[in-house]
């Protein structure tokens, strides 16, 4: 049976995309997350900081946004503004998953 080992490949080298949600307060502190703990808190904080920056700059431009959908090649990030903080949903794309504003 050892011959099957020739076809076996470890998946340890494949990086998974984050999937889940995270909530940050107006100061950028992480309030809650459902994203796998294999992603370090620094990573989640950086994502939160970029999202907060996006909302903050839109207010400066006098066009405050309540919701943004960022479409990347293999992932959709949806963020909703919440009293200066934000809740962020991250979902890898598949062929059945097309982002919308609904």
């Amino acid at each position: 049976m050892g011959i099957l080992n020739l076809f076996y490949k470890s998946d340890s080298g494949v990086q998974r995309l984050p999937n889940g949600s995270l909530t940050v307060d107006p100061k950028g502190n992480l309030v809650a997350t459902t994203i796998s703990s294999s992603f370090p808190p620094e990573f989640l904080l950086s994502v939160g900081a970029q999202v907060l920056h996006l909302f903050r700059e839109s207010r400066k431009a006098q066009l405050p946004l309540s919701e943004v959908h960022l479409h990347f090649g293999s992932l959709l990030l949806t963020a909703r503004e919440m009293r200066g903080g934000a809740v962020v949903f991250i979902k890898p794309k598949d062929s059945f998953n097309v982002g919308s504003l609904n």
Binding site: Q50, V51, H69, H71, L77, L101
Partner: protein, 364 residues
């Protein structure tokens, strides 16, 4: 100094009842890069005599003067010398003086500079005003064409009467809650008058109090009418040489018409574009906040690119967003980033496709 240089030097008339102040400002203004010739007058009457004798580019006057005050002088100047640029330089800080001066169509209202920095800024503004004579545009909102001014009135849903003067020609355009309801020139009214006014390439304008009881003669939308008028002007313009400033102006004008046409046809509310690289200013149509939105786009693109790297999720494709009155789509096309604002009730599934369609027609 050659005769030619001397002839091209702009002339400034300084009016103030304080001789010491005239001397100081005269000396400072005389050192501006455009090397203006400075004339001074200590009263409004003397200023009017000088204005009749010489052709000035700019009048700088104080408000507090005996016999004829600055506001009276400006009212006469506006009527008799509509092409003259005017600046109020005063120590009167009350807001109503500022609004009265602007209502008379002054180009700039400046409190007498009290710091070195204020003085430098003031001198830069004066230099900028001296350089604007050869450019088109309507005074009151610098560097804006009449189309922009009309769009601004419409977008801000204001009720006002725009009084537009070009030399001896005078026209009025009535707005009620942002709707264009009537226009009038000598001998024309309604759409015909509006087209006539829009044909004037430069002049001055002032906002007069609204006249809500004015009879409505124009029923078309502002954008529709602007588009029609711009097309009509375009058709009757004689073809110009490709490399002349007139030809460039005509090409820009045509581009604006085509873009306004695409905007109206597709139902979008505004478009702002910034180049992918470089620091060229944002371009915008249908919005007063081009600069602010352009700056936000720059920040947003940077944030999205950082997120793409962070998430290792492939390249950033586009952004969709909800604002209070709009749905927004930001995407890249060729070498530019575009932000398109759609009405809040636009169908979402089509938003990206509609934006791509608009942007493609924009650049074609």
């Amino acid at each position: 100094m050659t005769q030619e240089t001397k002839l091209s030097r702009p002339k400034i008339l300084l009016v103030d009842d304080n001789q010491a102040l005239l001397d100081t400002f005269g000396e400072l203004l005389g050192q501006l890069p455009s090397q203006p010739e400075i004339f001074t007058a200590t009263s409004g009457t003397r200023a009017l005599l000088l204005l009749k004798a010489e052709t000035f580019r700019l009048l700088l006057c104080d408000l507090s003067m005996p016999k004829m005050d600055g506001l009276q002088l400006l009212a006469i100047v506006r009527r008799q010398f509509p092409e003259l640029r005017t600046v109020v330089l005063t120590a009167l800080e009350e807001e109503h003086f500022r609004s009265r001066a602007y209502a008379l169509g002054v180009d700039m209202f400046w409190l007498k500079p009290d710091t070195q920095q204020n003085m430098e800024t003031f001198l830069q503004c004066v230099e900028s005003l001296l350089g604007r004579d050869t450019e088109g545009g309507f005074r009151g909102v610098q560097s804006k064409g009449l189309m922009d001014i009309i769009q601004m009135e419409s977008l801000s849903q204001s009720s006002t009467v725009l009084r537009i003067t070009r030399g001896s020609l005078v026209g009025r355009i009535w707005f009620q809650d942002g709707d264009l309801i009537d226009a009038e020139t000598d001998g024309a009214r309604g759409e015909a008058a509006f087209r006539q006014i829009l044909g004037w390439k430069s002049g001055t304008f002032e906002s007069l109090p609204p006249e809500p009881n004015r009879e409505r003669t124009i029923l078309k939308t502002v954008n529709g009418l602007l588009l029609e008028t711009a097309q009509a002007i375009d058709e009757i313009s004689a073809p110009a040489d490709e490399h002349t400033p007139e030809a460039n102006e005509q090409a820009d004008h045509k581009k604006t018409v085509l873009r306004l046409s695409a905007l109206t046809r597709e139902g979008a509310e505004f478009v702002v574009s910034i180049p992918e690289k470089g620091s060229t200013d944002a371009e915008g149509w249908g919005t007063e906040k081009t600069k602010e939105l352009g700056e936000w786009m720059g920040e947003a693109v940077e944030s999205c690119q950082k997120l793409a790297q962070l998430l290792k999720a492939g390249p950033f494709s586009h952004l969709e967003a909800k604002a209070m009155d709009h749905r927004l789509v930001m995407l890249s096309h060729e070498v530019k980033h575009y932000l398109v604002g759609w009405p809040a009730n636009t169908e979402v599934p089509k938003l990206k496709e509609e934006t791509l369609k608009l942007v493609a027609s924009w650049e074609s």
